[in-house]
């Protein structure tokens, strides 16, 4: 048990080898890591060596990302994406991740029929189920049909499958200007992942603005101009009973050229801000108090 439990970094935030990233996170005090498929396949020793690195780091995988553009397709496009999804699920299972992140489709070949989308996601969830994996469906703020978490939630409800839930990403919520009151209508047991990040612009009106900012200039919670809204989001989630993980989904070109320890330290400050200032969580008890009393 430590102060940072419940918060984790994403491998996408830092440059360098997988081992270096894992080690920097661990040194900063984190106990979990959100894995990106690319980290595994680009490992010089291949996927098995990457899996070994994750396991020997002792960090718990928060989840595995990211399956894109899965839902709403038909014919050979659907069959192709099902194959891709199966390969992603196999990697996800190999790392011991229990959550696969699936982002809403941006494809103009995909249907906008929400029932069709729900049916496809249920299929994905069924594929994941025997592997013990949950699917977190997240609305990208530039998604073609699903671009707000409220629509993602609608689809998840339509699919009605226990291992299909919603993934929330503060960036997309703020970029799309979705009212935070809608969080109160979510079922906390169906929120499988919450990704947090902030950014420096007040407005991102176009899809292009959102994409560029999302991919190059996100910052850690508390570092941007949406800190108040982000605190509000986290408190609302806490109030409805969400007790799951928060991972820092921070794509930032600057962080990609800074020493890993520097970036991990910023993440640590952010987690501490959330823990102390936002959630007002009590400090954990010292380790000796957790020892069992002799029988």
């Amino acid at each position: 048990m430590n102060l940072l439990d419940g918060f984790g970094m994403d491998t996408i935030t830092m440059a360098g080898s997988l081992e270096a990233k894992l080690s920097a996170m661990k040194d900063a005090g984190f106990s979990q890591v959100m894995l990106m498929a690319r980290d595994l396949v680009s490992h010089p020793g291949g996927v098995p060596a990457a899996v070994e690195a994750v396991q020997s780091s002792g960090l718990r995988p928060t989840g595995f990302q990211v399956l894109r553009d899965f839902e709403g397709l038909s014919g050979h496009l659907h069959a192709y994406k099902v194959d891709i999804a199966r390969s992603m699920l196999e990697m996800c299972a190999a790392t011991g991740s229990q959550v696969l992140l699936a982002c809403s489709s941006t494809s103009r070949h995909a249907t906008d029929d929400l029932d069709h989308i729900a049916r496809d996601l249920k299929k994905l969830a069924m594929m994941a189920l025997p592997l013990g994996i949950k699917v977190a469906f997240e609305g990208l703020s530039w998604g073609r049909t699903v671009n707000q978490f409220t629509t993602a939630w609608d689809v998840v409800c339509r699919a009605d499958c226990p291992n299909l839930g919603i993934g929330l990403d503060s960036f997309h919520i703020f970029a799309a200007n979705t009212p935070l009151e809608a969080v109160d209508d979510l079922d906390p047991s169906k929120i499988f992942l919450v990704q947090l990040s902030d950014f420096m612009w007040n407005e991102t009106p176009t899809f292009e603005d959102r994409m560029t900012t999302a991919r190059t200039f996100r910052v850690f919670p508390g570092e941007g101009v949406h800190s108040e809204a982000l605190a509000d989001l986290v408190l609302r989630l806490d109030r409805i009973g969400y007790r799951g993980d928060y991972s820092f989904e921070v794509f930032n070109d600057d962080y990609q050229q800074l020493p890993l320890a520097t970036v991990a330290e910023r993440a640590r400050k952010s987690a501490t801000w959330l823990h102390d200032r936002v959630l007002h969580r009590s400090a954990p008890l010292p380790a000796w108090t957790l020892k069992r009393a002799p029988l």
Partner: protein, 293 residues
């Protein structure tokens, strides 16, 4: 709103979209087929045929077919290093195997590629829990699949009678903590199984969640580890077979006479409702359950 509402009593529909019709066979994988064969023979199963190309033996009693797969690949995949036997497959009888397989694949099942050799049957299959598989068999009425892939063992009665009229009653599946709702959804969605209310139980081991096949011919029980079993992270698996018998006491007596031992403790012991055989080879036990003829 229509005047002719048909939903007033909310009579549940019991669809059976695969046209399931019971269990055709259950398969064990093991690297110690002789030892398992002995356990099965004690339980009344008789070896009746051997596979043409692989190290696979068909055992039978009454209407129950049980396959022992010691083919090196399958035994390696399914069985643990010390040779413990595991239930590696359940074959469902369906109206159309290809259709059933196609439907399950469309719903998100994982395909198992066929190992059929020349002139052997290709039995479509999907992955089940853990390392197990579900097969779909449609040729069980007009002729027997075993006539094609198996050679009968000479001088053996191909249709030995079942002890005390035993028949397949169900399968017990061990699942991970908190996984009941997942697996209930899986079996409902894939095979149209339906949940049996918690106050309705059979036999002497009522734990977990119980489902009924849409054909009504067998049950499927899901058992999670108890909350205090922190360390139980063993893989999900098909744990044991349930055998139905009209007269459990008679079955127990007959099986005891053949050397089968039963769990006999104050809490768990043979009674009219059911009985549990002691584990043999570390993992193989059978549960007897009272079932009206």
């Amino acid at each position: 709103m229509t005047l002719l509402s048909t939903h007033r009593e909310s009579v549940p529909e019991m669809p059976n979209r695969l046209a399931l019709e019971g269990i055709e066979f259950i398969e064990y994988a093991t690297s110690r087929p002789q030892a398992l064969g002995q356990v099965l023979e004690n339980m009344g199963f008789r070896p009746v045929a051997r596979h043409r190309s692989r190290e696979v033996t068909l055992y039978r009693q009454g209407g129950m077919n049980l396959v022992v797969n010691a083919s090196p690949d399958d035994a390696r995949v399914s069985a643990t290093a010390d040779g413990e036997a595991v239930i590696s497959a359940v074959a469902f009888r369906v109206r159309d195997a290809l259709q059933a397989h196609t439907r399950c694949m469309e719903l998100g099942a994982w395909n198992v590629s066929s190992q059929a050799q020349a002139m052997e049957l290709h039995i479509p299959a999907i992955h089940g829990p853990g390392a197990s598989r579900f097969y779909f068999v449609d040729r069980w009425q007009e002729f027997s699949i075993y006539d094609i892939d198996f050679k009968p063992i000479p001088t053996v009665d191909p249709h030995p009678q079942a002890i005390a009229g035993m028949r397949y009653f169900g399968v017990v599946q061990y699942i991970g903590a908190g996984r009941s709702t997942d697996w209930l959804a899986y079996f409902e969605h894939m095979f149209d199984f339906s949940l049996v209310p918690d106050d309705q139980r059979f036999g002497i081991l009522p734990k977990g969640k119980l489902m009924k096949s849409p054909c009504g011919q067998f049950l499927w029980q899901l058992i999670e580890p108890d909350p205090w079993m922190d360390a139980d992270e063993s893989p999900e698996r098909l744990q044991r077979i349930g055998l139905g018998a009209a007269n459990v006491s008679a079955a127990v007596t007959a099986l005891k006479a053949r050397g089968v031992e039963f769990v006999e403790s104050t809490r768990l012991h043979p009674e009219d409702r059911g009985a549990l055989t002691r584990s043999a080879l570390g993992s193989v036990s059978f549960e007897l359950v009272h079932q009206d003829p």
